[in-house]
Amino acid sequence: MAEFKAGDQVVDIDEDGFLQEPDKWNEVVAAALGGTEGVDDLTEDHWKVVNFLRDYYLEFGVAPMIRKLCKETGFKLNVIYELFPSGPAKGACKIAGLPKPTGCV
C-alpha cells in the first residue's frame, strides 16, 4: 500500500493506484487520480462516466459491466477509450474510486 496526495488530502492506494478506502473519494481525489491515468482535465463527459460508475458502485458495491456503462451513458466503447486512455476499468473506475474487479475477469 502506498500513500497518494490529492490536494490537502492523503489517501491510501494499492499497487495499481486504486483507492483503498472508497469513502475517502471526492472530486479532488478524482481529479488527482485522473492525472495518473492520462486524464488531465475532467470534462462534463468524463463526469458523466465517473458519476454513473460512482452511483452504480454505491448502489451495488461492485463495478458495472462495461456494456452497462456504455448503454447508460450513451458512450460507445471507443469514446470511453478516448476519454480515458487506459480504458474503463483501469482508467474510469480508478478515477471514480472503485476497487479493481478480480476473479475470472
Partner: protein
C-alpha cells in the same frame, strides 16, 4: 499516451519474448535465487482478506521486499505442515518418492516452452519441494543431504516456491506425459497450502475467495446486483430476438439449480455466453433457477487449500438443498469441473439428497453424475441436439470460422472432449481444429489459469500463452479462423489477451454464445443482430440497400 508499463501487453515485443535461451545456467539450480522482475509475479494478498478468512499472518508486504515479515519459527511451521500433508495425502508422498527424472514432462509446460526457465520444467518445479522432502523426511536424505539431492529449507527456497508455484497454472498437461502419472497440479496445491501457513498468497486469488466466502461469488456481486445484471441481459435478448424473459432467481422447488462462474456476469465475452444459457433455458421451458447465494461456479479455493475449496464448494450444495431442486447444471467453467469430478464426492458428497440428473426434455439420465448430481451444460445441450429438440440454423454463424480450445480442466479432469465439438459442429458450418498435439487431452493452457490471470503478471501470461496463441495463429493463417471457442470463464478473460498478442483478429467466444446465435426460438422476430448487438452480414447489406432506395 504515456510509456507502456510491465502490466500492459504492449510493453512486450514479440521478437524479444521469442528469444528464448535454452542453455542451462552455469551454476546449479539449487543456489539460483528467484528473479522477481516486474511482470513475472503477482501482488500479495491484502491483509483485510486474510483477516476476513481467519488465515495466518495478515500484513502489508511485497515479494520485491528483502524482508517478507514471516513469523520467527517459519521453518518449524512449514515442516509441521509438510508432515501433515504427507500423512494426509498418500498421493503427495508417492509424487515425492517416485520421479525417475526421465524428462518426459520437461518440454510439456507452456511456461517452459514460452520462457525457457528450467525451473518451469515440471520435473524441476516438483524438485523445488522434493529436495526439501528428501532432506527433512527421508533417512537417506538426513544422512547424505545434498549428495542425494537434499536441500536445506532457507528463505531463498521459500521465495523460490512463491515465485514458481505461482507460475504453474495447475493445468496438468505435464501429467498426461508422465509415465508415473505424477500430478504436478497437486504438488503445486501442496506448496501453496504450505505457503499460506506463512501468509504468503496472491491477491488475485484471495480477494475472490474472500468475496465468495462473504457474498457468494468471486466478484462480490450482491443479490440485487445479480438481479439487475440478469435483467440487463434480458433487455439485450429482447432487442435481438423480440422475446421477453423473466429470469427465475432463488426460486424454491425449481427442478434445476444453475450455477456459472461470476465472470459471466461482468466481463465480455462471458456475458454473451450467459445470455446464451438464458435463451436456451427459455426456449426449452426448463424449470430452473439462479441463486444469489450460490452465485459462483468457480472455486478459487482449489488454488488455495483443501479446506477453503471444501467450504466454497459446500455453498452450492447447501443452496441446492435449501431451494429443494432435483439436481444442478453447471455453466461453462473450467476449474469448477476439477473440483466437481475429482474432489467433491469425498469432500462434501455424496449428494444423496438430490436426484440423478435426468433431462426433462429428452429423458436422458446422466449416469456419469450419479454421485455429484451435477452436469456440465454442454452435456445437457449436446443431448438436446442429439434428440432433435432444438431448431438450429447454422447459417446464422456463417461469418464465423471457429476453432475450439479445450479448457484444461473440462478436458483433462473430466474428459469432456466430444460434447463441445458436437455442439459447435451442429451450430456452425466452419469448424477447424488446431494441431492435434495442442488440443483434447494435450490441450495447451491459456497461461492465466489457477489464479495467474492478472495484469501485473503480464510477461508470464504472454509467455505461457505462446503455445496456445501460436496454434491459434496457425489455424488463422491456414483456414482464416476468426473465433476461438472455449468452455471456461478464465479462458474467456485471459485468451482475449493471448489472441490479441499472438493471433490478433481472432475473437474469443463461449460455446453457448454460438448456440444462441444459431438457435431459432419459437416466436422470435427476424434476427438482424448477433448477441453482441453487431449487425449480421446479410442484415448490414439489407440496411444499406434500404437506405439507398
Amino acid at each position: 499516451m504515456a510509456e507502456h508499463k510491465p502490466d500492459q501487453m504492449e510493453f512486450y515485443k514479440q521478437e524479444e519474448l521469442q528469444q528464448i535461451d535454452l542453455n542451462p545456467p552455469k551454476e546449479g539450480w539449487q543456489d539460483q535465487p528467484a528473479d522477481f522482475r516486474p511482470g513475472s509475479w503477482i501482488y500479495p494478498t491484502k491483509p483485510k482478506h486474510l483477516e476476513s478468512l481467519g488465515m495466518p499472518n495478515p500484513r502489508e508486504w511485497s515479494p520485491a521486499d528483502e524482508d517478507w515479515q514471516l513469523p520467527e519459527n517459519w521453518q518449524e511451521i512449514i515442516h509441521k505442515k509438510f508432515k501433515e500433508l504427507l500423512g494426509k495425502y498418500r498421493s503427495f508422498r508417492i509424487f515425492m518418492d517416485t520421479c525417475v527424472r526421465c524428462g518426459a514432462c520437461a518440454d510439456k509446460c507452456h511456461f517452459f516452452i514460452g520462457g525457457g526457465d528450467p525451473k518451469n520444467m515440471p520435473v524441476l518445479r516438483a524438485e523445488l519441494v522434493r529436495s526439501i522432502y528428501r532432506n527433512d523426511f527421508t533417512t537417506v536424505g538426513k544422512i547424505l543431504g545434498r549428495a542425494c539431492g537434499g536441500r536445506k529449507l532457507t528463505m531463498d527456497v521459500i521465495k523460490e516456491w512463491f515465485y514458481y508455484f505461482y507460475q504453474c497454472t495447475e493445468c496438468r498437461r505435464c501429467s498426461v506425459f508422465c509415465p508415473y502419472g505424477i500430478d504436478t497440479a497437486e504438488i503445486t496445491m501442496m506448496a501453496r497450502e504450505m505457503l499460506h501457513e506463512l501468509g504468503l498468497g496472491v491477491n488475485w486469488i484471495m480477494e475472490p475467495v474472500a468475496n465468495c466466502h462473504r457474498t457468494g461469488n468471486h466478484l462480490g456481486i450482491q443479490p440485487h446486483g445479480l438481479k439487475d445484471t440478469l435483467e440487463f441481459f434480458c433487455e439485450d435478448i429482447e432487442d435481438v430476438t423480440g422475446i421477453h424473459i423473466d429470469p427465475p432467481i432463488n426460486k424454491k422447488g425449481a427442478e434445476v439449480l444453475f450455477v456459472t462462474p461470476s465472470g459471466d456476469f461482468l466481463a465480455d465475452p462471458g456475458t454473451f455466453t450467459c445470455m446464451g444459457y438464458m435463451m436456451l433455458f427459455e426456449e426449452i421451458g426448463l424449470d430452473y433457477t439462479w441463486s444469489t447465494y450460490a452465485s459462483e461456479g468457480g472455486n478459487f479455493g482449489l488454488f488455495t487449500s483443501a479446506d477453503v475449496m471444501k467450504k466454497l464448494n459446500a455453498k452450492i450444495y447447501a443452496e441446492a438443498k435449501r431451494l429443494g431442486v432435483k439436481y444442478i447444471i453447471g455453466g461453462e467453467c473450467g476449474h469448477m469441473w476439477r473440483v466437481l469430478n475429482q474432489y467433491m464426492d469425498t469432500m462434501n458428497g455424496p449428494a444423496d439428497f438430490l436426484d440423478v440428473p435426468k433431462s426433462p426434455i429428452t429423458g436422458t439420465v446422466f449416469e456419469n453424475s450419479r454421485s455429484t448430481k451435477m452436469i456440465h451444460i454442454t452435456e445437457f445441450t449436446a443431448d438436446l441436439i442429439k434428440h432433435g429438440k432444438l431448431k438450429l440454423d447454422p447459417k446464422m454463424n456463417d461469418h464465423v470460422r471457429v476453432t475450439f480450445h479445450d479448457s484444461c480442466n473440462p478436458a483433462r479432469a473430466m474428459g469432456l472432449l466430444e460434447e463441445p465439438r458436437y455442439i459447435i459442429n451442429s451450430v456452425c458450418n466452419n469448424f477447424h481444429e488446431m494441431p492435434e498435439n495442442t488440443i483434447r487431452e494435450q490441450t495447451f493452457c491459456c497461461g492465466g489459469g489457477a489464479g495467474l490471470g492478472t495484469d501485473e503478471n503480464m510477461e508470464m501470461r504472454l509467455r505461457g500463452g505462446m503455445p496456445r496463441g501460436t496454434a491459434v495463429r496457425h489455424v488463422q493463417e491456414k483456414y482464416d479462423v476468426n473465433q476461438l471457442a472455449c468452455v471456461c470463464a478464465i479462458d474467456r478473460a485471459t485468451l482475449v489477451t493471448v489472441c490479441d498478442y499472438w493471433a490478433p483478429g481472432v475473437q474469443v467466444t463461449g460455446v453457448h454464445e454460438l448456440v444462441a446465435n444459431a438457435m431459432v426460438m419459437k416466436g422470435q422476430k427476424e434476427r438482424t443482430m448477433n448477441l453482441r448487438l453487431e449487425p449480421l452480414p446479410g442484415a448490414e447489406e439489407k440496411e444499406a440497400n434500404d437506405g439507398e432506395s
